[in-house]
């Protein structure tokens, strides 16, 4: 039971990725319609996308686009109770001498405010690498889906059907006719 609870909290994204992949796999195996099979493949693919992006998540992190100390401080100051002139001094200090000087210029804060400000200033970035891999993969996946669908269209032109079982039957009949 505790395994299920910790799993739901820590591994939910991974379980969703497994479910999506298996839904896609089921469609690929069970559906006879070729377009349905292509759709199943694309579901399978998005499951893997979720897996990668989930690995890149860092708790409390922000998107990997540089967030300067000055921007963080400006946002933080709008959220805490601080005298305007000390806030201005801190903003001036962060441009000149960096974050530590700005914290010093700000002086003492209420403990809750200080914690909130420090958390914002220290927010890490999520891992950019999975984002890069998946970003290109999404565009590639739509291109490959186009090729797959083009092949399905040609199959329709050649066999007159896109049901895989009927195609197999037609192939068998052709083979039997050729042999006799």
């Amino acid at each position: 039971m505790s395994l299920l609870a910790t799993g739901l909290f820590n591994l939910l994204n991974y379980w969703v990725y497994v479910s999506l992949m298996m839904i896609g796999l089921y469609a690929v195996i069970a559906k006879t319609n070729l377009v349905k099979k292509v759709i199943g493949l694309s579901l399978f693919q998005t499951g893997i996308f979720i897996f990668y992006i989930s690995m890149g998540v860092v708790s409390g992190a922000t998107t990997p686009i540089t967030w300067t100390d000055a921007e963080r401080l400006r946002l933080g100051l709008s959220r805490v109770e601080v005298a305007p002139e000390r806030a201005a001094a801190a903003l001036a200090a962060v441009e000149e001498d960096g974050l530590d000087a700005a914290r010093a210029a700000l002086g003492p804060l209420a403990p809750a405010d200080a914690a909130r400000l420090d958390e914002l200033l220290a927010r890490p970035y999520t891992n950019p690498l999975p984002h890069v891999l998946i970003l290109t993969a999404i565009v590639v996946s739509v291109s490959t889906m186009a090729v797959a669908l083009a092949i399905v269209m040609e199959i329709k032109a050649a066999y007159g059907t896109i049901e895989s079982d009927e195609i197999v039957t037609a192939e068998l009949e052709t083979a039997r006719a050729a042999r006799s």
């Binding site: 998107t63 686009i65 946002l75 914002l120």
Partner: protein, 85 residues
């Protein structure tokens, strides 16, 4: 906090629209639900960017608002004229 509350409300609304899209019964109901879901998605994208404290990247919502129309247009063309060309 209020952004998160509004976001959860929007997700719940999206679930209701999704139920309509799954139930149908006609294809028009489904396209209507998809269209409304698209609007909801744009709003939720904008809200999420605010929840994450990076409101300057609201571009995602803008792209969605621009591109969302394509799918609806194509579906309409299919049900009305039966072709894309």
């Amino acid at each position: 906090m209020m952004f998160v509350a509004a976001g959860v409300a929007l997700v719940v609304a999206m679930m209701l629209f999704l139920a309509r899209a799954l139930l149908g019964p006609t294809v028009y109901d489904r396209i209507l639900a998809m269209n409304s879901l698209g609007t909801k998605t744009v709003l939720l994208l904008a809200l999420l960017v605010f929840i994450h404290d990076r409101p300057e990247f609201v571009d995602i919502a803008l792209v969605y608002a621009l591109v969302n129309f394509v799918a609806t247009l194509a579906l309409l063309k299919l049900v009305e004229h039966g072709r894309l060309s």
